[in-house]
Each structure stands twice: as C-alpha cells, then as structure tokens.
C-alpha cells in the first residue's frame, strides 16, 4: 500500500509494538498527538480506543510490529493517520475478521470492526505468511 497523500504529511513518528507495555505507550502517544492538534475529547477518545484495539492486534496476532503516526494537513482539514504494520501470519479472510464477534484470540472480536466505526477512514491489507497493515485516519472536527 503506497503511502497516500504523502505531500500532506507534516509530522511523523513510529512507536514499536513488541511488548504489552508498548500498547499502552501507543495509546499515550496517540492521545498526546490528538490533543496537540486540537481534537475534541470525544474524537481523541475514539482515536485512542481504535489505536488500542489495533495495537493489541499487532502485538497479539501479528507477533509484534509497529505503529506509524502521521499528522496530515490537507487544505483546511487536519487529521491523524495511524498505520499498524506487522509481519505475522496474516489474515485468511478479511471480511470474516471484520465481523463483530469474530476472534481467534483472547479478545471478544470487536477489534477490527469496532475500530473501523471509531474513525473516518479505514484501510486493511493482509497477506498470508507476509503480514498485515491497517491504516486509520480521523479528521479534526
């Protein structure tokens, strides 16, 4: 997946997702970025929660990976794009995995479908034995 709208990225950073405490660090980093660019409390909470779901997936199912943060400025709109990348087993059936209640792990299967509901844009790409990449964007309201 080519990084879309590369021109509009004004700031980027990467958080490793190799341990359980990295999941907490990812949440804290997203919260701090969202607050810095003036997200409302509700928007911040939604994005942090979506990030927490996807960071846990990266760590639990993907065997670890990273979260890339991008601050996008597009004309008069500003948003945060988060990309979760792992090199784990991949997802055999993305449609099935997106369904609420589907789980192969210890969660309750709200992770993918639920996090999609919390953001404005959601892209997922996965290849068996290669890995999974999920990108979410939330624009400031």
């Amino acid at each position: 997946m080519a990084t879309r709208d590369d021109m509009s990225v004004v700031k980027r950073d990467t958080v490793a997702l190799q341990t359980e405490s990295d999941v907490v660090r990812a949440r804290q980093t997203v919260r701090s970025w969202a607050q810095d660019i003036g997200f409302t409390l509700v928007d911040t909470t939604k994005l942090v929660t979506a990030a927490s779901e996807l960071a846990r997936n990266t760590f639990d199912h993907g065997g670890g990976g990273e979260m890339q943060l991008e601050l996008h400025d597009q004309g008069d709109r500003r948003g945060l794009r988060l990309v979760f990348v792992d090199h784990g087993p991949g997802i055999a059936d993305i449609d099935l995995a997106m369904r609420d209640g589907f789980t192969t792990g210890k969660g309750m299967g709200m992770g993918l479908g639920g996090s999609r509901r919390l953001v404005n844009e959601f892209e997922i790409e996965s290849q068996l034995a290669v890995g999974t990449r999920v990108a979410i964007t939330r624009w400031r309201t």
Partner: protein
C-alpha cells in the same frame, strides 16, 4: 513485566476499587484475579468499581470489567461500576463493548447507595 496492581480497599462489607493507573491487559487480568480472591476471602457483600480516572475503555478492558461483574455476582456480591466519563461512554457504545449487563451509577455516592439497596434486597431474600 510490571508488577503494577490496582489496590482493593475494604469499606465495611463492601470492596472498593478505584482504577487510577493506565490499564494494560496484564493489570486488568490481575484485578480480576485479585478481586475474586478477595470476595471469597472476606465474604464481601458487594463491589464498587470507580473508573472516573479511566480515559479509555477498549474491548479488552471492557470485557474484563464485564467479566469481573459477572464473576462477583455469581459469588453473591453485586457489583456497581461508577464514574464513566462521557467521552468513554460514547466510545464504548460505538465500539460495541457489551457492558449492558453491568450495573452503573454516575458517581461513588450514588453507587454506594445503589450497592446498599442491592445488598439489602439480597438479605431480604435470605440469600446473604
């Protein structure tokens, strides 16, 4: 692995938990184990969980809280969850975390009153 744990306070016959630290999955599971052990040890009549300091409840944390409430209630200790921030409530509903079976109250005061009435009901039915 951190050894962070959420303290469980005893107030009369009720156990009081106020989550004031960032909930990693590990911390959430440790709370589940500690709390069920304390309910059994002390024959607690009820549990009050204050989440007013929690800025985020994702599916794992939500599920753990719902499980704690279920476990406590089958151990005959009704559980009341108090203090959920409005932004967290909005997010939890959109995410789809099933907290519907968990009794809630706005704050600790109201939660204690609810818990007292639940405990009284339980005694009246001879179930205490």
């Amino acid at each position: 692995m951190t050894l962070e744990r959420i303290p469980i306070l005893r107030m009369g016959r009720v156990l009081l938990v106020s989550i004031q630290i960032e909930m990693s999955d590990h911390v959430a599971l440790a709370l589940q184990d500690d709390l069920t052990a304390r309910i059994a040890d002390q024959g607690a009549a009820g549990v009050l969980i204050d989440i007013s300091a929690l800025t985020m409840v994702d599916s794992f944390i939500g599920r753990t809280i719902a499980n704690i409430a279920k476990m406590a209630s089958i151990m005959n200790a009704p559980t009341v969850l108090v203090g959920m921030q409005p932004a967290v409530a909005i997010t939890v509903v959109e995410l789809g975390v099933p907290l519907a079976g968990v009794r809630t109250a706005l704050d600790v005061d109201r939660g204690m009153k609810l818990l007292e009435s639940l405990c009284a009901e339980r005694e009246a039915s001879g179930n205490a």
